[in-house]
């Protein structure tokens, strides 16, 4: 990644109003999640007399069915949701990049085996497999991260492979081979840095997917377990009170929506910024 490309990202970010909004919003969420401990309330302290309050001066987002401050819980939930999203992305990017570059660089039967494997994985409805796996493993954040990571890397691997195939034909990669560079160093020094933009874009979009999956799993009660909470698990517990305390579904629901939307917008912006100049006009 060179400076020119980052300047392109900056320019694109400031040119596009939505992108800037998305970026600022994500930063706000991130800071809020990081500084959740500043909240005067304990997220897990129950107080039955305060239960199911509507948003008010003391409890900004009201309280939940156990009288816990909902704002504080949303902040702590953000930690889990964002962390799971981010960590799953890392897992997916590491696996996807490794498989993609190895497959593309070596080609031949290695490529054939790896890509058929990817296709098999992609053809299985992964959500049900996740449900199944989840049932056998100890539920928790680590399990969640690994499972989501393991089931979302295939798309990254395919994108990385096709980029590798085109970079492989560049003369600097040929030179590396001609001068006796090892395959490992050729991949890490010559191929991966040059497909980094693609990986970053795929990773950004992957965070959105991962957050959504985490929410779905947690909503089904298979993800984060009490007393910890993520936005998904909060939605799960809120569904019983949708009539009397609509705000309990509203806040985590909208937060999931906005976060996923923001990551998608950001991924789009990165794609435009990294695209070679001149190609912009041809895209619709």
């Amino acid at each position: 990644m060179n400076k020119r490309k980052w300047n392109g990202v900056k320019r694109e970010l400031f040119k596009n109003k939505y992108a800037l909004m998305a970026f600022v919003l994500l930063i706000v969420f991130l800071i809020a999640a990081l500084f959740a401990f500043l909240s005067p309330f304990d997220p897990n302290k129950m107080s039955i007399i305060d239960k199911l309050q509507s948003p008010n001066g003391k409890h900004l987002f009201g309280t939940d069915e156990y009288g816990r401050d909902y704002f504080t819980r949303v902040l702590y939930g953000a930690r889990v949701s964002l962390a799971v999203g981010f960590l799953s992305m890392i897992v997916a990017v590491v696996i996807g990049t490794t498989v993609g570059t190895v497959s593309g660089y070596f080609g031949g039967w290695i490529d054939n085996i790896l890509m058929r494997f990817v296709e098999v994985l992609m053809s299985i409805p992964s959500f049900f497999l996740m449900l199944l796996l989840n049932a056998y493993m100890k539920p928790g954040i680590t399990t969640l991260v690994l499972i989501i990571g393991f089931f979302t890397w295939m798309e990254i691997a395919r994108i990385v492979r096709s980029e590798t195939l085109s970079i492989k034909e560049r003369e600097y990669v040929m030179y590396a081979k001609a001068s006796g560079q090892s395959s490992f160093l050729t991949i890490t020094k010559h191929i991966i840095p040059n497909i980094a933009p693609t990986i970053i874009i795929a990773g950004t979009l992957n965070i959105a997917t991962a957050i959504l999956m985490e929410s779905s799993l947690s909503f089904l009660g298979l993800g984060v377990q009490q007393p910890n909470s993520s936005w998904g698990s909060m939605l799960n517990s809120a569904q019983g009170y949708i009539g009397e305390a609509w705000h309990l579904t509203l806040f985590p629901g909208f937060l999931i929506l906005f976060t996923v939307l923001c990551f998608n917008v950001l991924g789009d912006v990165l794609r435009v910024a990294f695209e070679p100049k001149g190609a912009n006009g041809e895209k619709k």
């Binding site: 020119r4 600097y172 030179y175 001609a178 001068s179 006796g180 010559h190 840095p193």
Partner: protein, 330 residues
Amino acid sequence: MSENLLEVKDLKKYYPVKSSSLFGKERVLKAVDGVNFSIKKGETFGLVGESGCGKSTIGRSIIRLHDITSGNIFFDGDDIASLNEKGLKKYRRRMQAVFQDPYASLNPTMNVFELISEPMKIHGNPTPAEQKDTILSLLDQVGLKKDHLYRYPHEFSGGQRQRVSIARALSVNPDFILCDEPISALDVSVQAQVVNMLEDIQEKTGVTYLFIAHDLSMVRHISNRIGVMYLGDIVEIAESDELYTEPLHPYTQALLSAIPEPDTTIAKRERIVLSGEVPSPLNAPSGCKFRTRCPHAMDICREVVPPMLAIGNGRQVACHLYDEEGKIIE
């Protein structure tokens, strides 16, 4: 006469081509179809021909960028044609390459220091200080400045990038450099700079070049001997001046007459305009591959592949027009 550094014997490189229809037969693209030539130590051997004639494939076969179909490549007496990557490693230092596209031959994410030090680190274990010393003297040799050391490729012009490529190739003191169209993408005024530099380096280090190009006048200038290729075959090999003043093969004659001459004082060569296009190498004509465009084509050309005749003074031609002495058969 000095000894050969490189000897290529009956080199063949075929590519399987999948048919576009599902059950079609797999066909074979004969990119290089049995060529023989040798390059002496300290010499520049030029390889010319039009696009698709297989000249780059030969270059890449020699530096073993890919496996070859059959044949031998003797480098300093050792056959490297069938060595694996491990066996090749010690030859990789001695054979370097400079490629055509100055915009694609340098990794855009690495600076000059990292670029040039890479081959040094593969073939040795120099300390950072040693690397820097060597690189600085190399930069000086290729006409770049000290403060270019930490710049990235996009900050350079095409000619400067090609200088970096050359410095990188020189960093491991090679015996042989493959120059695969190193000046084709450069402007006229910059081409001369690079050609002069390559000549100076050869004079100083005695390095051997295989110079692949389609710009015939530059090839003549830089090469001692030249091989002319057509559709995967070498059709003529000669000393470069001889080739230009007295081309024997009808294809060489046509190729030379097609070069536009900038010097308006020189009488124009009679232009031989070849009819038609180069046939596809997937579907090469029988006998002599050039016969479909040759103004002198005879019956024998359809049936018999012309053998490569050595007609003295290191000169070789593959054409039915000539006998063993290089005389035209009446």
